[in-house]
Amino acid sequence: MLDKNQIAQRIAKELKDGYYVNLGIGIPTLVANFIPEGITVTLQSENGLLGMGPFPLAGEEDPDLINAGKQTITTLPGSAFFDSAMSFGMIRAGKVDLTVLGAMEVSENGDIASWKIPGKMVKGMGGAMDLVASAKNIIVAMMHTNPKGESKLLKKCNLPLTGIKCVKKIVSNLAVIEVTDNGFRLLERAPGVTVEEIQNKTEGKLIVEGDIPEMIF
């Protein structure tokens, strides 16, 4: 079973040289810590920055320089600032190669729910609806089940949707799963996790073909 850092580490293996990447709040943010050596990946922050760097050193925080999670950050050489319309413009135009974000639920056809629990939580969708509607490649980083142990990989989402038919891949604490036209397809198991356990914790249709390898980090 993976911890949050390991989920981020596994997702980082999907990065390719020259990629522009948007990382959501939570586990996705951690992906930045595991960018493979030797490749250049440029991080986009949808509040108006390309070339996001690490958090600042103590005393070097700049209130005018934050990421989409409102955290103080820094910039890397070659960065650029722009307004929110251009930011979502480049997202809509498919210029961002990969989007990594969290989810409450994903359905076997790639629908995602992540922004609202009716009657309980109303934070708003922020940029998530724009990102999932536009991104060429979306990876969801999440726990396979909720705190009650119920599957978050469903036949159909119960919560209000963020976007439809958009998720391409899921990296959970248990597995790497591809979303295909025919349902979830199991690609890799977390170390020590059996196909059976993944099957039991996946409510949506899970396709298991041949030997499923363990993840390699």
Partner: protein, 233 residues
């Protein structure tokens, strides 16, 4: 034609109850602190606010919420504000949540004289309810309308007496878009210089969009999530 005002109080003299007001900023970054303070002081009520966020409980738009000056809030993310959630759940406050890119582009559409735009954001979700949708090249888009705001209150880093504005870093965010979208746009700046002192090649908002400008008296620039790394990293 003088665009320069002494302070927020004078610049906002004609904002009255019931107006539709845009406020720039993302979280607490780049918000028009002096304009918000003036709105609180004026005690104008029944405002409709268009802003990406609703501030925090004791800063930013949160100050207007606390004094119950808002009738309606149009925003994309309001997760940092408990008072907001309370007013929303009790029905005291009308709220329209819309995707962040839709919010930004509807501002831009207004400033660019485009009555409506198409975006895929929200297709298949409750955001799409009641909206016209249309398929282009096999992909579905929602038609979203330009905003119609009485006032836009924005915050810039530098401004000149002709109304030209330059923003700093990610404090730019929604500010230039809203600056274009107000029937009356009021800009507060950290540094106000004479026309001719800013490099015309570096202007983010041309002065034609800005009706009033003043130098903010003080900027707290509160940080919402102070995050740091260890120097060893």
């Amino acid at each position: 034609m003088n665009k320069v005002f002494k302070d927020a109080g004078e610049a906002l003299h004609d904002i009255s109850d019931g107006k539709i007001i845009m406020l720039g900023g993302f979280g607490l970054c780049g918000i028009p602190e002096n304009c918000i303070a003036a709105l609180v002081k004026k005690e104008v009520k029944e405002l409709t606010c268009i802003s990406n966020n609703a501030g925090v409980d004791d800063f930013g738009i949160g100050l207007l919420l606390k004094k119950k000056q808002l009738k309606k809030m149009i925003a994309s993310y309001v997760g940092e504000n408990a008072e907001f959630e309370r007013q929303l759940l009790t029905g005291e406050l009308e709220v329209e949540l819309i995707p962040q890119g839709t919010l930004a582009t509807r501002c831009m559409a207004s400033g660019y004289g485009m009555p409506a735009i198409f975006t895929p954001a929200g297709v298949g979700t409750e955001v799409a309810e009641g909206k016209e949708s249309r398929v282009f090249n096999g992909k579905e888009y929602l038609m979203e309308y330009a905003f119609d705001a009485d006032f836009a209150l924005v915050k810039a880093w530098k401004g000149d007496t002709a109304g030209n504005l330059i923003y700093k870093e990610t404090a730019r965010n929604f500010n230039p878009l809203m600056a274009m979208a107000g029937k009356i746009t009021i800009a507060e700046v950290e540094e106000l210089v004479e026309a001719g002192q800013l490099n015309p090649n570096e202007i983010h908002t041309p002065g034609i969009y800005v009706h009033r400008i003043f130098k903010g008296s003080v900027y707290e620039k509160r940080i919402e999530q102070r995050t740091i790394r260890q120097s060893a990293h």
